[in-house]
Each structure stands twice: as C-alpha cells, then as structure tokens.
Amino acid sequence: KDTFEGHQVLRIVPKNDVQLSLIKELEKMIEFELDIWMGVTDAFSPVDIRVPSHTLHSFKSYLENFNINYSTMIENLQEMLDREQEEMDSAAR
C-alpha cells in the first residue's frame, strides 16, 4: 500500500499575474514530483499542491525565492489518511 508519510499539501494563492505564470510553470517541473490537487485559475484563487516529503524542502525554497506565499493545508498527509481509515473501520464495526 502506498503511504504518504511527511507529504504536505500546500495552498498557494498567487497575488498577481507574474506569480500566476510562475505557479503555472510548476506544473511542468517534474523534479518536484508534485500532485496538483487544485490547479491554477486566476490571481487570488488558491492552488493546492501535494508535495512529497523528499522534495518539500527544495520546493518551499523555490516558492520563497520568488516571494510566493503559501500556507500548509495538510501537515502530514499520512496522519490524515490513517485517521480516515480508522474512522471507516470503526463506522463499519
């Protein structure tokens, strides 16, 4: 079973068209192994991206280099998945 220990989901809100195009470029940058949960639409609309733990540091540095603000929507994805599974199991019982 695939696990997602340490994966984070970051929420990025582009504040102008420059940031918008920088974030659009991210979708093509395979080295970060990003999983786009909610894609780029327009400035001020959130973009949610799952980032694996092993690229998290470099990805955050990339955002910070371009002064792109982000918040952490999900701190540790696996913890949430474990909670979801526990909830399903206990409801089934």
Binding site: D2, F4, I36, W37, M73, I74, R93
Partner: protein, 312 residues
C-alpha cells in the same frame, strides 16, 4: 456483521468500499422493482461491471437525465453523494411534486462508480489515485485521465501526452472502456437531454466548452440556469460556488466529458466541483458527505426541473 440489511439502515454518512456500493445498488433495485433497475453498460479494464441505476416510472426511451459521480476515483465525496442521490430519488418520488413530475415524464440514469478500478485502487493501494488502471504500453506509468479522453478537442492544449501525467489523455479518444461505455450508451439511447458529471473539489458549476474559447450557442441559457442552480445550492448552508464555462472559469481542458456530450446535442451539459472546506481537499471528512449531497441535490433539482420544463 455490520452489513446493512436494507437501504434504510445503510450508513450514508461514511465512505464505503466498492463491494458495499455494489450491494447498496442491488438492495435499492430489490426494494424498488417498479422504479429502479440496474443496467450494466460495460466492463472496466480490470473487468468490473459499469453499473448504472435507471430510475423510471414507465414508458419507452423517455427523454432522460444522466448523472455520473466518481470518474476521478480519489474524489470520494462524489461517489458518496451519488449513493445519497439514489436513495433521495426513491424517497422523494410521490412526495416532492417537482421530482415526481420529472420522473413521470423522464428517466434518470445514475452511474455512482464511474471509474471502479480506480476507486478499488484508492481503497486498497493508493488513496490518491485519480486515473483509470489500464497499463500504457512502453511506459511504467498506469492509467489515463478519463476526463481528458473524450472526442472533443482531443489532444489539444489542457491535457497531457505523457502517460505519467495526472492529466494524460490516453492514446486515442475513447480508448478507456469506462469512457467508451458511456459514449456508446449516450449514442444508443439517443434521447439524453441533460448530462451532469460530478467531481470535487473547488465549488464550481461549469458548462462547455473547456477546449475552446468559442462560446456554446446556448451559453446565455446555460449561464442563467447555472445561476439559479447555485442560488438554490447556496440557500441551504451558504456554500459559495463559482459558475461559468470551463475555459473561462478554471482553465483550458481538452477532451472533457461535457464538451463531448454538448457536441452530441445534449444541451444541458454541466459538470460540478463539489464542496471544499479549505482544509482537507480530497480527504473531506465523512461528516461532510450528507451536507454536501443535500446542497448539491438542490442544484441538481434546478437543472433537472428546467430540463423537464424546457423540452427541445
């Protein structure tokens, strides 16, 4: 142990594995033999049945409304909402005048698990799986995005040609059996008047097109109806939605489901993106299932009612 004996004791406020959804469908058919039947419109790549519930009060090849949920397997709130809609239809027929009028004149088709292989995979191996499960020759990456696999601007911008991408369009239009089954069904039925494809999560109601900026010829009517549907949806819990054409509201996406259905002549073609609390993404807690389904139902009713009252 723990298995519901009927659809009244089914737990609508939790997520269910695929075998429980199959059992739910069979129970609903058994309990409502005069209204609900199960059609198997094809098989998934891994051989699972593509079940469609047909809600009908009689007639032959009546004008019909299609609803599908779960084409992107990880969007669990959509399959869970589909289950709730199925029960809601049988519960409200005969007591809700609008739904009763619709079902007295039209059929409703509901495909709850549109991508069964993907859904099974999300429960057993990878909760984050979105695509189908067919291998791609020459690549180690599996699956196709079934919402980029339709013959509407197929291969254009807004879909990927790389099998490893989450938006991989597939080798050719309708290459995925899960997509082809719906294509064949819509064509052979020939009397589908509304087609609603349900996704999550960014709180939007969208109409065609996604592959071109050219507006559809019914844009004014579709926009007005979207406004009414969202106003009804918002009235329940205050959930705010955006609405508009796919390309203007989100981004360019080619090979999309409702672009194809619209081009086939299904005027009322819409796609939903359900509730987003801003905290969980695809992991929407199970206690959000019923509120999500309830508010979405109001919008669905607006679209179905308009379709019924505006025959074409």
């Amino acid at each position: 142990v723990g298995q519901p004996r009927n659809t009244d004791s089914f737990d609508y406020a939790r997520y269910h594995p695929i075998n429980e959804i199959y059992s739910f469908q069979d129970m609903l058919v058994a309990e409502n033999p005069n209204m609900v039947s199960k059609l198997v419109i094809g098989q998934s790549y891994e051989g699972r049945p593509l079940n469609v519930l047909k809600f009908s009060t009689g007639g032959t090849n009546r004008p019909a409304i299609w609803i599908d949920t779960g084409i992107h397997s990880r969007e669990w709130v959509t399959q869970a909402s589909g289950i709730w809609f199925a029960k809601k239809i049988v519960k409200d027929y005969g007591s809700d005048p609008a739904l009763t009028a619709i079902l007295d004149n039209m059929d409703i088709f509901l495909e709850i698990v549109t991508n069964p292989d993907g859904y099974y995979f999300t429960h057993t191996s990878n909760r984050m799986w979105r695509k189908t499960r067919k291998p791609n020759p020459g690549s180690s990456c599996i699956g196709v995005d079934p919402n980029r696999n339709w013959d509407a601007g197929f291969g254009g911008p807004g879909a990927s040609s790389s099998p490893c991408s989450e938006t991989y369009r597939g080798p050719r239009a309708h290459s995925e059996p899960e997509v082809k089954a719906i294509v064949d069904f819509v064509k052979s039925h020939g009397n589908i008047k509304a087609f609603i494809s349900i996704h999550s999560y960014s709180q939007m109601l969208l109409y065609p097109y996604g592959y071109t900026t050219t507006p559809v010829k019914d844009q004014a009517e579709l926009h007005q109806l979207a406004q009414k549907a969202i106003s009804d949806l918002t009235s329940l819990y205050g959930t705010r939605y955006k609405y508009g054409s796919i390309i203007n509201t989100i981004y360019q996406a080619s090979g999309g489901t409702i672009d194809w259905t619209y081009n086939q002549g299904v005027k009322y073609s819409y796609t939903f993106e359900l509730r987003d609390t801003g905290l969980y993404g695809f992991l929407l807690p199970a206690n959000q299932i019923i509120p999500t389904a309830q508010e979405t139902w109001l919008a669905l009713m607006a679209i179905m009612d308009h379709t019924h009252k505006n025959p074409y």
